[in-house]
Amino acid sequence: MRAPFDKYMRALLAMLCGLALGFVVTAATLKDGYGFGAFRVGPWTAWPRAGDPDIDPYARAALARRGEAPLGRDEGLAFVASADSDGGPLDSRCDYRVADPLPAARYWTLGLASPSGAPLANPTERHGYTSADILRREGGAFDLAISRHARPGNWLSPGDANSFVLVLRLYETPLDSAARLDPARFLKIVKLGCA
């Protein structure tokens, strides 16, 4: 009489374990990123498919969970970096230098945000630069300093936040996200030193 009862218990256990495992896998896949189709260049990551009408279910679920409305692929492409070009995580106690070159775009903006995508409180009340208002050297190249302490030229401060991400948005860019891009021909994030 024990055997059938045993089987029911096993079936129940299999169901509960399957349920738990399924939800854990879903939570893990939606935690970071937008499923598949990441476009990585050095420390920068963009998700071209999240802004495409041909979106996949993982990207759709990730967008809905975070309440985001992405840029359309025809509008532009947003790159996020949470590490420097050597792979170390961005730390607001450190100073960084962000430097050319950039792919072609009608306009671009480069700014700081919290890892959850909110503007950061900082003494300058500046959250980013655009391609029109960044100061350039002769020839068009530019440098951007990221530091808690005032710097001459283009400077962004992460304020008192512990961690931050860099967001680069290329508006109307002919950049082909299917191509493999050389990180040397993309914005570099160089750590200069830490306080």
């Binding site: 349920l19 399924g22 409305a69 359309g72 025809d74 980013g128 508006y171």
Partner: protein, 201 residues
């Protein structure tokens, strides 16, 4: 021998567990856009409904303007602080949405058409305007079909017609402020966009 027996006895249960896990995973990913409590449309609707919107100004021309970016959580995460933004919420059960805009500046203006989950079904910029005008109708499949049926052969339709994948959704309007001092001007170009419910033919 006994261990082997146990292993072969457990194998079907392990397979069953993995199968259930797979089904639960697929179903939960597909259902997330429907059940997520704070998806983009829910956030925008909440801001539009509240009397004194915390993050959005009262609607004008059917467009709800976002507050200028400030530190701390915004209406939608990961929006560009260099953009002045506004949104038109639509419910196609009340009729198709007609969006009109006159493009009179050289600066970037982006329009993206979203399902409630935030997924995009169409996007365009000011570059896609027709002689400085943008004229778009968003409808469901039936409304668009009816419009096409009532078209006359002599006068081709002037507007762009979009079929929305779901009756609810929103259109995000983003205008670039090239410099912080341009913000008010960018905001005015968002305000110049009009969204109205079109009477059905």
């Amino acid at each position: 021998m006994k261990l082997e027996d146990r292993a072969t006895g457990l194998l079907p249960w392990i397979v069953a567990t993995l199968l259930i896990a797979g089904v639960v995973h697929i179903v939960s990913v597909l259902l997330t856009p429907l059940v997520a409590p704070r998806h983009a449309y829910a956030r925008l609707l909440e801001a539009a409904k509240s009397d004194r919107p915390a993050n959005g100004e009262t609607a004008r021309n059917g467009v709800m303007l976002f507050d200028p970016p400030a530190p701390g959580p915004q209406l939608l995460p990961f929006e560009d602080p260099a953009m002045a933004e506004g949104v038109c919420l639509f419910d196609l059960a009340r009729g198709p949405l007609r969006l009109r805009a006159d493009i009179d500046s050289e600066d970037y203006l982006g329009l993206s058409f979203h399902a409630p989950s935030g997924a995009i079904f169409h996007a365009m910029t000011d570059r896609a305007s027709n002689k400085g005008k943008i004229d778009i109708i968003v409808g469901d499949a039936r409304q668009i079909e009816e419009m096409e049926a009532s078209d006359s052969d002599e006068a081709p339709p002037q507007e762009t017609r979009l079929t929305a994948p779901s009756p609810l959704g929103f259109v995000l309007i983003r205008a670039l402020a090239k410099r912080p001092s341009d913000y008010e001007r960018a905001r005015a170009s968002v305000e110049a966009v009009s969204c109205e419910i079109e009477a059905e033919p």
